[in-house]
Amino acid sequence: MESIIKRIEEEIVHAGPRERDLDIGTVTITGDGIAEIDGLSGAVMSEMVIFDPTFDRTLEEALADSDAIYGLVLNLEEDSVRAVILGDASKVHEGMLVRRLGRLLSIPVGDALVGRVVSALGEPVDGKGPVPGVTPMPIERQAYGVIDRAPVNQPLHTGIKAVDAMIPIGRGQRELIIGDRGVGKTAIAIDTILNQKNEPAATRPICIYVAIGQKESKTAKIVAQLAEAGAMEYTIVVTAPASSPAAFQFLAPFAGATIGEHFMEQGKDALVVYDDLSKQAVAYRQMSLLLRRPPGREAYPGDIFYLHSRLLERAAKLSKEKGGGSLTALPIIETQEGDVSAYIPTNVISITDGQIYLQADLFNKGMRPAIDVGISVSRVGSSAQTKAIKKVSGKIKLELAQFRELEAFMQFASDLDADTKKRIDSGRRMTEMLKQNVGEPLAFEMQAAIIFAATNGFFDSFAPEKTSDAEKRLQNYLLREAGSVLTAIRESREISEESDAALRALLEKFSVSAA
């Protein structure tokens, strides 16, 4: 009580004539989360404004409900401005006073955000209280220029064999995950986050999962999964659920990028997953139509490409002079009926540095992860692979490509020559080897050992359809018997001659004992 009285004394002593309040406006029309404001003649684009509910009320009424509602100016018109309401739109009414805040939209960022679940405005929603030690950072920022960037050459391991071997992702890259609903796009992103637990703490990236327009139950399930696996120690979740206003679903990815940049600028690595940008595009379309902006193709506004390009350009690998940090982006796009030539998918494909394409057909056939390696690509390529993985994965893509060519002849198996049958069986074994359960990412040294076994014929003694089981048994075997070899590979990040010989000897033993 005494501290409150002292505080009030200090406030009264230091209260002097306030600077005059410039630039106010009055709400003339409001509805659907948009307010048209008369006045605010000095307002700038993307400026924050505040809808002041206290102007027309008595003191008692004002103190009972003095929570201000913020808005974001998005349309500057001849006699008025239009702003998106960032809060409870039902509290904004015609005639309400609006004040400029003189700053762009910012969110609070800080190291203490790690382990928390926050909204698109950076407010905690996990019930764990306020986030301490945060500073505001603008949500829209210019991406780093060419001079400030360095080449992408450090791997970001997803823990998924098919990705790390054939579609390797580097720190600072943008790799799109694209496919129909329910084919495992989120699973790939979550497994990537889970796999960062296998990285040493010093180089482990901070992960940010941005849930856009998702069901709250799905987001809660993901948070629980990450917490159970201990991944929340290095993860931040930004959520704008399906029940939130379109403005929040539009802003959430930018909030995720801003949080990622906070860590990147400290020289650390960060990974941000945008799940998914199709929903952000739909939310932006809704807002633009309500703002009376002219609709273009599929009713999207003309700057829909710029929405995604300016977001994804913020992912970068910074030069040593700028601290050497990185921000890797994994945007997710949902296609309809596998149509990758639709408007939004083609836009984002042209922006990103590669795509992981998930096929519903493969998923239904039991190939999981359902990655179509034929049309998935990483434009960074082997620059982002450890020597260990690079050594063993060179042959896989070619073998799988040859297998796909020959697959059509499989139904004529009895009429094929021995060599063709051998290639088909080899392709089938390779395909089975690449299958992996959800939530079970593999450390890169284990992946290297398994792919080594597959490409050097150590699975040939097993029937192709049994390869998946054999691979799981091999994993257990290697964990029991090959600890020192795996450690050597992990520390040196390559398969040396000694490791090669030791691994071959162990795999021979395994093949004999398991056959």
Partner: protein
């Protein structure tokens, strides 16, 4: 479209070529011929809004007569020649002046609300 009609009517009024009655009658005839009589209420609303926007009046609210002189002086400083002075008990003390895009608030109510927010936040 109602705002375009309102702007056109406002300009006609400023030019003074026609009287208000002539403008109203001609507008009615035009809307009837064009089949747009339903726009009339919206045009009237837009015209009211436009007239308010263009006027050069300050709304001056004072808690008591003692605050009239400084309040009116502040309003004149804003450049507006017309002041609409009202007594508003809710201000508790002091005064405030509001124009279309400027507010000067020197009221006791504002002071107490700001004090409450800074102590409780």
């Amino acid at each position: 479209m109602p705002s375009d009609y309102a702007k056109a009517i406002y300009r006609l009024k400023q030019r003074g070529d026609l009287t208000d009655a002539q403008i109203a009658e001609n507008l009615r005839l035009h809307l009837t011929r064009a089949g747009k009589t339903k726009l009339l209420p919206a045009i009237v609303r837009e015209l009211k809004r436009l007239s308010y926007m263009k006027q050069d009046v300050s709304v001056v609210e004072i808690a008591s007569e003692a605050a009239r002189i400084p309040a009116v002086a502040a309003a004149k400083e804003l450049g507006n020649q017309e002041q609409d002075v009202r007594i508003n008990d809710a201000l508790i003390s002091g005064w405030r002046v509001k124009t279309r895009d400027t507010l000067i608030d020197r009221s006791g109510k504002r002071f107490l609300i700001d004090l409450y927010r800074s102590v409780t936040n």
